[in-house]
């Protein structure tokens, strides 16, 4: 699915520049569940931006099914985001003036889905995250957990190939964290889509197929062997191969 080669992202900050990503090589298979961990400022969000086509690397290539996102024209990249990539953000990023249903609809707008179909699909998506009764609620009228579920519905309503989530539970307290993770894990199990999830939650990490660690812009991965039943176990150390050579 993804093949990253020598991905480097440099941010100019005053005189000196910051290497947010420094020569990242990585392959992500279809249907993989990759958890990304690492210290704050390590480059996790930047890494996710590269995968999502939100920004371009300073050098290197980000191939998604053979298409290099780094070299794709702006409008094609926008189109690709609209069709294939779902995002879930730490801060929910819902539009405060729109209702839950309208927020979910915004993901279908760039696809040119007709209004009636849009409304129906948005309602279904909200139902599937357990918010069927909240279609007309504004973000401000919902708990953080509910808001993040709306954001998940928004990310999934277009049936993307990849779901990218940047600390989706980072702004939530424990009970809400569970409610959001339950929804995400449900999807994880039932859909054949590729997940890349940035999280500090080690319980979630244990259920991943692979865990990547981003530190000082460098990425390493280790395979997680998951025994049947979901109890996480770690073995094989760097079985997935260190991406960084």
């Amino acid at each position: 699915m993804y093949r990253l080669t020598g991905v480097t992202k440099r941010y100019a900050r005053g005189e000196k520049s910051v290497h947010a990503l420094d020569g990242v090589d990585l392959t992500v298979e279809d249907g993989e569940r990759l958890v990304v961990q690492g210290p704050t400022g390590g480059g996790k969000s930047t890494f996710l931006q590269m995968l999502g086509g939100l920004d371009r690397p300073t050098s290197g290539s980000v191939e998604l099914d053979g298409t290099d996102l780094a070299r794709l024209g702006e409008s094609k990249l926008t189109r690709l985001r609209a069709e294939r990539i779902g995002f879930v953000f730490q801060g929910f990023n819902l539009i405060p003036t729109l209702t839950a249903r309208e927020n979910v609809e915004t993901a279908l707008v760039p696809l040119g889905v007709k209004a009636a179909a849009r409304r129906r699909r948005a309602a279904e998506a909200l139902e599937s995250v357990g918010l069927g009764e909240r279609l007309g609620h504004l973000p401000g009228e919902m708990s953080g957990g509910q808001q993040q579920r709306v954001a998940i519905a928004r990310a999934l309503v277009k049936q993307p190939d990849v779901l990218l989530a940047d600390e989706p539970t980072g702004n939530l307290d424990e009970s809400m964290r569970d409610e959001v993770m339950e929804v995400l894990e449900g999807r994880w199990r039932t859909h054949g889509l590729t997940f890349v999830l940035v999280t500090h939650d080690s319980a979630i990490a244990r259920r991943a197929t692979r865990v990547a660690t981003v530190r000082n812009g460098r990425l390493t991965t280790e395979r997680v062997d998951r025994p049947e039943g979901g109890a996480a176990g770690r073995s094989g150390g760097m079985a997935g191969g260190a991406a960084r050579r």
């Binding site: 969000s45 999502g52 939100l54 926008t78 539009i95 209004a115």
Partner: protein, 475 residues
């Protein structure tokens, strides 16, 4: 989605929208007030001009002012009195052509033939000056002896009164044009079209009152009796003349042949006034053409000052306020986009094209502009209405009488000044501030422009925004 999103934003961020809108509203209201007051001023000026020239006169043609020549000076009236011993009462009336400059009657025909001229009519403005009183010769005095002055005349003198009034010879065959059209006949009747040679007169109501003249009276004009058939009352301000008689009779009495002083011209449409003006200047050399626009420039007094103010300061002030309002609206819109970086970044991350985000910003801004336009129109109309209701009075003075509206200071005009009636014509006029549809239309255009300008500020910022901002700004 566009409309839903737009509606939601406007409803839920109403206060921010109102701030932007009220800035624009203020600018637009000011523009409406200034332009409606200017329109009111213009109307007031038109009213002033109409009172002088009559309805529908687009221009007047007079003979160009020249320095008086010897021959002309001799045409000025001379008063001769016998200084007899008795000092008895003597009286003398003279009619003098206003400004002493005349045109031939054929000028009217020539002007009427020009393209763009709907009608032309000639008239003769006269001043009647009556001097009456006692004139006593002096006593010879002194014999010229030693130590005495070289003799002289002592005690000679005169005790006399000068009465003047203005007399206008009007072309009774063309009643629709000329100065009399700005007066209404309030008693008796007006001239009939066949009264070209009749000894009939129409007297202005103010003059009739002060001189105690009524319909049916006989007016003595240089020894000829004219029957007063009607009293005319000027629609506003001062009348063009105090006594009106048929043109032909005025010419005979003044011994003026077929001369006229002024040709009143109506153009086929106001767009052609300038063409007509140049045609007349070409075909009838040595004339001065005074259009209503020229004349408007001679209006002074508080009306003139106010009109200048409205035209100058008011206009610039309203433009300045408008520009400031546009700028402030633009900055507010831009900062509103700044506060919504994450929102717009998220939409871009979701695959919204920059164009779609920009359109949303423009749409909101345009709606703000229209809201501002609506408020501004309401406010502007309210103020304009208040001005009209309050109706502040303005005075207007016109520098010179018709026929000498463009008179320059010719040399050697001494005694002539009295005869030329250079007295100011003062009018009092209530100011109105009519709001016409064109003003409303331009207010709407300004509102749209304001919205677009403000939107452009925001849209520029929104368009440059990277989708990665969605991740960056975590609350």
């Amino acid at each position: 989605m566009f409309l839903t999103y737009l509606r939601r934003e406007l409803r839920r961020r109403g206060k921010a929208a109102l701030v932007v809108a009220s800035g624009l509203a203020l600018g637009i209201a000011l523009v409406i007030v200034v332009s409606s007051v200017s329109t009111g001023m213009k109307r007031a000026q038109d009213e002033v001009l109409e009172s002088l020239y009559g309805l529908g006169t687009d221009m007047t043609v007079t003979k160009a002012q020249q320095p008086p020549e010897e021959e002309e000076r001799s045409r000025r009236p001379r008063f001769r009195f016998d200084a007899g011993q008795g000092g008895e009462e003597q009286s003398n009336e003279r009619l003098a052509v206003q400004g002493f400059q005349t045109l031939g009657a054929d000028t009217v025909g020539t002007i009427a033939e020009q393209d763009g001229v709907a009608a032309a009519v000639g008239g003769l403005s006269l001043n009647s000056v009556t001097v009456d009183g006692e004139f006593t010769p002096g006593e010879p005095r002194g014999r010229g002896g030693p130590g005495e002055p070289a003799g002289g005349v002592e005690g000679g003198g005169a005790d006399f009164r000068v009465d003047t009034y203005t007399l206008y010879g009007t072309d009774v065959r063309t009643p629709g044009l000329g100065p009399l059209t700005s007066s209404a006949i309030t008693d008796g009747r007006g001239f009939q079209e066949d009264e070209t040679g009749a000894d009939v007169a129409v007297v202005d109501s103010a003059h009739a009152r002060s001189e105690d003249i009524a319909v049916g009276d006989i007016l003595d004009i240089t020894g000829t009796g004219f029957e007063v058939v009607g009293i005319a009352t000027a629609d506003s301000g001062q009348p063009a003349a105090q006594v009106y008689i048929p043109l032909e009779r005025a010419q005979e009495l003044a011994d003026a042949g077929d001369a006229i002083t002024t040709v009143y011209v109506r153009a086929t449409d106001s767009q052609r006034i300038e063409d007509v003006e140049s045609a007349v200047l070409k075909e009838v050399p040595g004339t001065t053409v005074t259009t209503s626009a020229d004349l408007a420039k001679t209006v002074s007094g508080s009306l003139g000052t106010a009109a200048d103010l409205a035209e100058g300061v008011g206009r610039w002030l309203s433009y300045a306020v408008l520009a400031a309002a546009f700028l402030v609206a633009g900055l507010l819109t831009s900062s509103a986009v700044g506060r919504r970086v994450r929102e717009f970044g998220t939409l871009k991350a979701l695959g919204w094209r920059s164009g779609r985000v920009t359109r949303q910003v423009m749409g909101e801004s345009l709606a703000n502009g229209l809201l501002g336009g609506g408020l501004g129109i309401a406010l502007g109309c309210a103020v304009a209405y208040a001005v009209t209701v309050a109706g502040p009075t303005l005075t207007a003075s016109l520098g010179a009488a018709p026929g000498t509206a463009t008179a320059g200071p010719g040399p050697a005009r001494g005694a002539g000044r009295l005869l030329e009636q250079e007295g100011e014509r003062a009018l009092e006029i209530a100011l109105t501030a009519p709001v016409d549809l064109r003003v409303i239309a331009s207010a709407v255009a300004l509102a749209v422009a304001g919205g677009l300008v403000a939107g452009a500020f925001g849209a520029w910022r929104a368009a440059r925004l990277r989708p990665a901002e969605a991740l960056r700004r975590v609350a």
